[in-house]
Symmetry: none
Subunit: 296 residues, 2 copies
Amino acid sequence: MSAQTMDWSDIPYVLAVCETGSLSGAARYLDVNHSTVFRRIEGVESRLGVTLFERLSHGYVMTAAGEHFYQQGIELKEGVTRIQRELGGQDLRLEGALTVTTTDSLLHRLTPVFLEFQQLYPDVELRLLTDIRRFDLGQMDAEVAIRPTRNPPEHWIGRNLLPIAYAAYAHSNYLQGMAPEEYRWILIDDILNRSPMNRITAEHKAMSAPVIITSSVMGMFDLVRAGMGVAVLPCYMGENTPELARLHEPEPKYNVDLWMLAHPDIRRSARVHAFFEFATARIRDAGPDFSSWKQA
Amino acid sequence: MSAQTMDWSDIPYVLAVCETGSLSGAARYLDVNHSTVFRRIEGVESRLGVTLFERLSHGYVMTAAGEHFYQQGIELKEGVTRIQRELGGQDLRLEGALTVTTTDSLLHRLTPVFLEFQQLYPDVELRLLTDIRRFDLGQMDAEVAIRPTRNPPEHWIGRNLLPIAYAAYAHSNYLQGMAPEEYRWILIDDILNRSPMNRITAEHKAMSAPVIITSSVMGMFDLVRAGMGVAVLPCYMGENTPELARLHEPEPKYNVDLWMLAHPDIRRSARVHAFFEFATARIRDAGPDFSSWKQA
DNA sequence: GAGGACCTTTGCATGAGTGCACAGACTATG
DNA sequence: CATAGTCTGTGCACTCATGCAAAGGTCCTC
């Protein structure tokens, strides 16, 4: 590299000092040592033969040349970020297995996401596990988890996607000519004890109401749609289903956040990273209750 | 730097391969080793999770992603070049006064440096002060000082350029047919008391030797060249002057280091900085006694 | 078919870049 | 006035990027 040629890798250092006003601030921003920033700035100024910053006791202040550099450099930064965003993770040669664990109802509702991802990366072998038992990411059973939770595990990469609401639903035909005390309630087995679904059910179900017990939310959904009774379901299931009627307004206090989780070691994988970013964007774009997606 | 973040310094490598079509071509273009280009491309593709080039037997061909990178990257390159031209090129638009204080003999010997600098920066108004009184940089009388000293001031930016040797010289004609005790000694007035020149003179001059006293080293030099006597001179003056003969080997214990000094506040000035770096390189390249430069 | 010119890829040694630890300065607060 | 928190700046040791040397492949020319 010529003595008079600026090193491209100097640019982020200069921009960081411009934005933070100090070597220390830039070092924190860039996650490097402040002495590295110091030497980089010295090197840039030496090679350009121009002073970019006035050294004051409380930090570095841009000179006119520094201001100029910043204005130009900010555009460069946007350009680099654009390249990264548009190319990063787009490896169309992505292949190998990608294991996602989720609930059966989320699997059902998120089929548009999985479909689009599979079309984009046909060589990736999707493994979509819907075992309702809480799995242990540490055991490497899955690489990504998409689950509602109020207590996401620490030290894991987690994205809070959106809140999930819950309410009671029934077939509109079922509700006609029937008093609430006569409703048959479709319940899930006790594994999700104290869950919002169970708590809302307890609030609305008559004490002696007849019940049907099933082992999955999708089972509940099928039974509700068949007109066999009333069930508390996630609104992303109950809404956008024309034949179902909601019995009451969902209460925000019962909301649970939907999280996407990945173990830090696993996120380095290009396909995991690609999926993580891809699914995050798609789910957040889908709106409340995934209203953009037609209920199957 | 995050594993998934592209390194800015990778960009020129990718662009060079795009433009030349091979690792070897890019290496020549960038003046680096082809193995370096190889590793950089591998690193970028790994971090972005995307393939930028198809590897063919005759070189590297851009993939669609590579084309995309190139289109974006080309604009970045233009941006970087613009910064360099608009800031780095400020050297060539350097203007204003630049005040250098030095000795008269150094001014004499360093004319090649000043000449080249003036040609390079025609808009800079050089002020070359050779007042032999020690000036006070703090008073901002000068921006740069080039002077021999054993005690460079602290807190100032100082470059130790090279050691200066001293010895006695006379015209070769003057020395013929004359005993040392008969030598007329050319002395400088007492301002530089205990200086190496004075100390060497005291060591070689006969106690009752006749003297001529002048007020500058250049005056001494002119008188010596005229054959009027013997004088202790800096070797950078005495050497490379064909008509002068040195009377004895210079003793290293009398050497004094030549320093270039600038006040820290002033070094931020682009033209001071430019001169500082430029002159340092030229003086150090000139060799002992500035032997690369012909004595005027 | 051999040789030359071009290319890519890899192991090893070296030096540049970086982080660490330290020192010093300035400012605000008790 | 002492202390804490922030900052800049530097010497030293270590890590990693780079160049060097080597190996291997393909294509073209004689």
